[in-house]
């Protein structure tokens, strides 16, 4: 049971990535893989600031800003230098590896001994249950904020940009600027996942971001399957499903480990799992069309 609870906690930490990929892939229709770099960046910033004994509520805005900066660089390269989104993301992600390493000064930084988000208080004790409460509350607030932004006039313009670019330009919106803002938002949210994970596991590793984009992708695809299956147009509900996707994804991975799959094969299992969901949804939608 403890084992699955750990998976749920991890899944909740990955909700930031899921929301980020949901924004870049589903709302803007841009395949953005800056994720691997901006996730680690969020964790690195968190670890460094924690080691300087700075409170998490001062760390969070810096993490958001760092992620947003990474995303807007990708956005700038993509829209202004006219380089494909995929390559732009790869370039920034690669560059971020060095940036992260330089920032940390070494490849691994523990932060377990510092006071962070999960350190416990008189209200909520430092335990797995306490962490779960804090994480759920954190993710609910995050979801409410994202959901609100998406139903405002600005959010409508964001959602329309990935949907019909000709329309959005005819309606007076600078679609390039909108994409840069969107990628900034997506990567800020991804960095928040790094922020949460660094504190949950108590250390930051330079390689923690490798292949993490597939976790976000899998979560969004699980969520999106339900969104399309039930024709959901409500933004809040869509976000809830995407977040659930992140948790389900981790539970499935935990299950495969529990039945005795070699942990070294975890990335392979992840890739095959994502392939399966994508292929199955494609096939079943084709049949329904």
């Amino acid at each position: 049971m403890e084992f699955y609870l750990a998976a749920v906690l991890q899944g909740l930490c990955f909700c930031g990535i899921a929301a980020g990929i949901y924004i870049s892939m589903k709302i803007f229709n841009i395949p953005d893989i800056t994720t691997d770099g901006s996730y680690t960046l969020g964790a690195v910033v968190t670890a460094i600031m924690l080691s300087h004994e700075i409170s998490w509520y001062f760390i969070l805005p810096v993490v958001l800003l760092a992620g947003a900066l990474a995303g807007s660089i990708t956005g700038f390269i993509h829209t202004k230098l006219k380089i494909s989104a995929l390559l732009s993301g790869i370039l920034v992600m690669t560059a971020l590896y060095s940036v992260n390493l330089k920032l940390m000064g070494r490849s691994n930084l523990p932060s377990l001994n510092y006071i962070g988000l999960f350190s416990g208080s008189s209200l909520i004790p430092s335990s797995t249950g306490g962490s779960l409460t804090i994480l759920v509350a954190f993710i609910v607030i995050l979801g409410l904020i994202i959901g609100y932004v998406l139903i405002t006039d600005f959010g409508l313009a964001m959602r329309a940009t990935g949907n019909s670019e000709s329309m959005i330009r005819a309606l007076g919106i600078n679609s390039d600027r909108m994409k840069i803002i969107g990628l900034a938002m997506a990567n800020a949210l991804t960095a928040v996942s790094g922020f949460l994970m660094a504190q949950l596991q108590g250390f930051t590793d330079i390689n923690m971001g490798i292949g993490i984009v597939i976790v976000g992708l899998g979560s969004v695809i699980i969520g999106d399957t339900a969104i399309r299956r039930f024709h959901i147009t409500l933004v809040w509900l869509s976000l809830l499903l995407v977040f659930s996707g992140a948790v389900i994804f981790q539970l499935v991975l935990a299950f495969t480990l529990s039945i005795g799959v070699d942990p070294n094969l975890l990335k392979l299992v992840t890739a095959v799992f994502v392939l399966l969901i994508v292929a199955l949804t494609q096939l079943s939608f084709k049949r329904n069309d």
């Binding site: 405002t152 313009a157 949907n163 329309m167 005819a170 309606l171």
Partner: protein
């Protein structure tokens, strides 16, 4: 209202596949005029429309709206004056957003899109009132995604969306080319009604000679990047449908 002076547009200049799409065009559209532009494929009529909308910039010459020079102003900054209907019914609306949300964005065409909720109940009532004038029964479906509408309905909705915010100019790029005859007729009638009710200046590019004959108060023919015919209201009224067909033989 719209004034183009000695406007030219070249594509791939200096290369083997150089095309001179428009050369030395002087073209003025007065307030409340409804100009129909005819021309064979490759005559430059779409290029002309794209220069007015700001999708393309001219290689030479200047473009004015009223007395403001807009030659190098990108399309999204011309939305203050211009509303557009595209040839492809999918281009003028966002299919995954609801009808209501599409109208909300259209209502902000010349304004900034803020971090506040604008698709309120009173706004919904306004949209329902507007949309009932189409007589398509869409007023009860404002929460449906626009993607679930037919091509004709989407073009009609796009037209109606253009009246949600101040508009001076309506650009129609073969609005009925992708529609069946019945929907096409309905969309053209709607366009005509909206243009006259709102005193709009309109420019329509079309291949449909019947529409060119039935609608508008001025007709212009382009060929090989030049204006070869320009008929004013009286001249157009004196025209009969067969004359138009002769232009292309």
């Amino acid at each position: 209202m719209i004034k183009l002076t000695s406007v030219g547009k070249d594509f791939n200049k200096g290369k083997a596949n150089h095309v001179q799409a428009l050369s030395d065009i002087n073209f003025e559209v007065n307030e409340k005029q409804f100009v129909v532009i005819l021309g064979a494929n490759g005559s430059g009529k779409s290029t002309l429309l794209n220069l007015i909308s700001g999708n393309l910039f001219p290689s030479s010459g200047t473009i004015y709206f009223d007395n403001t020079e807009v030659t190098r102003l990108p399309d999204f900054q011309r939305s203050r004056w211009i509303a557009r209907v595209f040839q492809n019914p999918l281009s003028g609306t966002a299919p995954d957003l609801t009808i209501l949300d599409n109208f909300r964005l259209a209502a902000l065409r010349s304004k900034s899109k803020k971090l506040s909720i604008g698709a309120t109940d009173s706004f919904k009532k306004l949209v329902q009132e507007k949309i009932s004038t189409l007589g398509m029964g869409l007023e009860d479906k404002v929460y449906q995604p626009v993607g679930s509408l037919s091509g004709g309905q989407r073009q009609a909705v796009t037209l109606l969306m253009s009246t949600m915010d101040e508009t001076r100019i309506l650009l129609l790029d073969e609005p009925t080319a992708a529609l069946d005859p019945r929907s096409a007729a309905l969309v053209m009638q709607t366009a005509n009604r909206i243009i006259s009710e709102n005193n709009l200046t309109a420019v329509m590019v079309t291949h449909n000679l019947k529409d060119a004959y039935n609608y508008g108060n001025r007709v212009v023919q382009l060929a090989e990047g030049k204006i070869i015919r320009d008929l004013n209201t009286e001249e157009k009224a004196a025209l009969n449908e067969a004359d138009l067909f002769h232009w292309f033989t």
